[in-house]
């Protein structure tokens, strides 16, 4: 799949923002006063900035409001609703923090909605049976862990962040390994795609067109797989590093460094999430699944 920068920036930033807001609303460590309000503003900025970036890949951004209508069947529509609900629900918590009030039960509702937004974002990808690497329960788990770990680093909750970062690195590494076998495991081949398997082994004789088209650019995208193994190491190391940095370094420098490492890992992981994902439509064009890594 095409790793479009707008979608990578959107999922990383809004994931971090909503994870941060979820921690702020939970009442575990809610800062108060003007400082509290500014901290909430940072969360809002990340979450809303990410959502705005997501509209850049639309063909008709002015009609984006229509995405609120199909919540009964569409995860993208549910994401629209839950994200707005989360941003509205967190507002009284932020104002309460200014007045020094505890978030209470309402804060937990807002926190759940924030994590629900991240879950909806992940389900947009995880629901697609056409991209076997994404069609797995570990995808939403990874997205939510990214949000929780990133938010905990920002808060900062050093102990919690260290544990979550270590867990995220492990889940990410397992996810890479499981993802490699997903395409072959799904059972779609050129033989099932064309139905010609009943005669013998098919192969592409001639392509239907010599130039590129929307399908080849968007879904049959092959880019940078030469460096995939190196990028995977960067992704896992990046998200794992805060687990070492936070307990060892003094607070301000530690948090800044941990956040940089976490974001570097997050961007590498999210770029790979798209670049390594293979769509079954590639079969018609003779693309084979990536060889399984040992």
């Amino acid at each position: 799949m095409n790793p479009a920068p707008s979608v990578i920036i959107f999922t990383v930033l809004s994931g971090l923002g909503f994870g941060f807001l979820a921690w702020l609303c939970s009442g575990i460590a809610t800062p108060d006063g003007l400082h509290g309000l500014l901290v909430f503003a940072l969360g809002y900025g990340l979450a809303v900035g990410g959502l705005v970036a997501s509209t850049f890949h639309l063909g008709q951004p002015m009609r984006a409001w229509r995405a609120f209508t199909q919540w009964r069947s569409s995860w993208l529509s549910r994401e629209a609703w839950v994200s707005v609900a989360a941003l509205l629900a967190a507002a009284p918590v932020a104002l309460g923090a200014l007045a020094g009030r505890e978030p209470g039960l309402w804060g937990l509702v807002a926190a759940a909605l924030c994590l629900g937004t991240v879950l909806c974002t992940a389900m947009i990808y995880a629901q697609l049976a056409t991209v076997p690497r994404w069609h797995h329960p570990l995808v939403p788990v990874t997205f939510v862990l990214f949000a929780l770990a990133g938010g905990a680093i920002l808060l900062p909750l050093p102990g919690v962040a260290a544990v979550l970062s270590a867990g995220l690195a492990a889940v990410l590494a397992i996810g890479f390994r499981i993802g490699d076998g997903r395409f072959a495991g799904a059972g779609s081949t050129l033989a099932t795609a064309t139905g010609l398997g009943r005669i013998g082994a098919p192969r592409v004789f001639e392509q239907p067109h010599t130039g590129g088209n929307y399908l080849t650019r968007e879904m049959i995208h092959v880019v940078g797989r030469r460096h995939a193994a190196r990028l995977r190491s960067i992704a896992v190391a990046g998200v794992a590093l805060p687990a070492l940095i936070l307990p060892l370094l003094p607070p301000v420098a530690g948090v800044a460094l941990a956040l940089c490492a976490h974001l570097a890992g997050a961007f590498a992981a999210r770029w790979l999430f798209f670049a390594e994902a293979e769509h079954v439509v590639g079969l018609y064009y003779g693309r084979r699944p990536l060889p399984e890594k040992g």
Binding site: H57, G59, L76, A129, Q207, N213, M219
Partner: protein
């Protein structure tokens, strides 16, 4: 509404005969021609006469080589377009309701004025049936020529999809696959028609007819018994003598 209707009164679709398709691309051209002036925005091209031409098409014809266990390889031309699935994943993922399946005939359509061009339906389709038009920023797909098949101003023989009407070898058939007595349903039953990627459980309406078995080449001639000639007389004596000398 992007919830699937659950049932449709008809299941209009195509039956494509892989035995008779010669890969001439006439259906591709006819589709592009009709949909430049028909339902919705025209199918645009980018850099059409330049170094890197690209464009939106609703139908593409692939060519595959299949190697059977015995005998020579076969070339099979393979037109690929929307299969108007009963469990169309492209419809349920649509956030705006632009993508929908019609109850009256089962056609999967895009209401272009409600499409935000997010591309998620194209991601959800296993068959590459949907292409986002680069000029208009909205999703295009096969409409089964909904603006031809019900069009009373056209002569009756033209009230079928442009690809079917134009096919010079009669490899494309159009009809109601929900009616077991329809011509297309009988064709599918007689020729063992199949659906594409059944493992993804999209339940396509369109069916493909497999290539028929090729005749095996006769290695021995029918005249073989008559060809075993014995030379007589002088020619026979010469034949025997030359054979001994060898």
């Amino acid at each position: 509404m992007t919830c699937l209707p659950g049932y449709t009164e008809k299941k209009l679709g195509l039956v494509i005969d892989l035995d008779t398709c010669v890969g001439c691309q006439a259906c591709v051209t006819a589709c592009k021609g009709w949909n430049d002036q028909g339902y919705g925005v025209p199918l645009s091209d980018q850099d059409a006469y330049g170094a890197d031409p690209s464009g939106t098409f609703l139908n593409r014809v692939h060519s595959y080589e299949v190697q059977p266990d015995d005998g020579a390889a076969q070339i099979i031309n393979f037109p690929r377009s929307c299969l108007h699935c009963e469990d169309a994943p492209c419809v349920t993922v649509c956030p705006t309701g632009a993508s929908y399946k019609r109850i009256e005939d089962g056609i999967v359509l895009v209401n272009e004025s409600a499409c935000i061009g997010c591309g998620l339906c194209a991601w959800a389709c296993p068959y590459g049936a949907r292409e986002l038009d680069a000029e208009a920023g909205v999703m295009k797909k096969c409409t089964l020529c909904v603006d031809r098949i019900y069009n009373d101003t056209l002569p009756e023989e033209d009230r079928e999809p442009a690809c079917v009407r134009t096919c010079p070898t009669g490899a494309r058939h159009f009809g109601d696959l929900g009616d077991p007595d329809s011509e297309v349903s009988r064709l599918v039953a007689a020729r063992d028609g199949f659906a594409l990627m059944p493992e993804l459980r999209t339940r396509p309406v369109n069916r493909y007819l497999p290539p028929r078995r090729k005749d095996a080449r006769e290695d021995a001639s029918l005249l073989a018994p008559l060809l075993d000639l014995q030379a007589q007389g002088f020619a026979g004596w010469l034949d025997r003598m030359l054979g001994k000398m060898g």
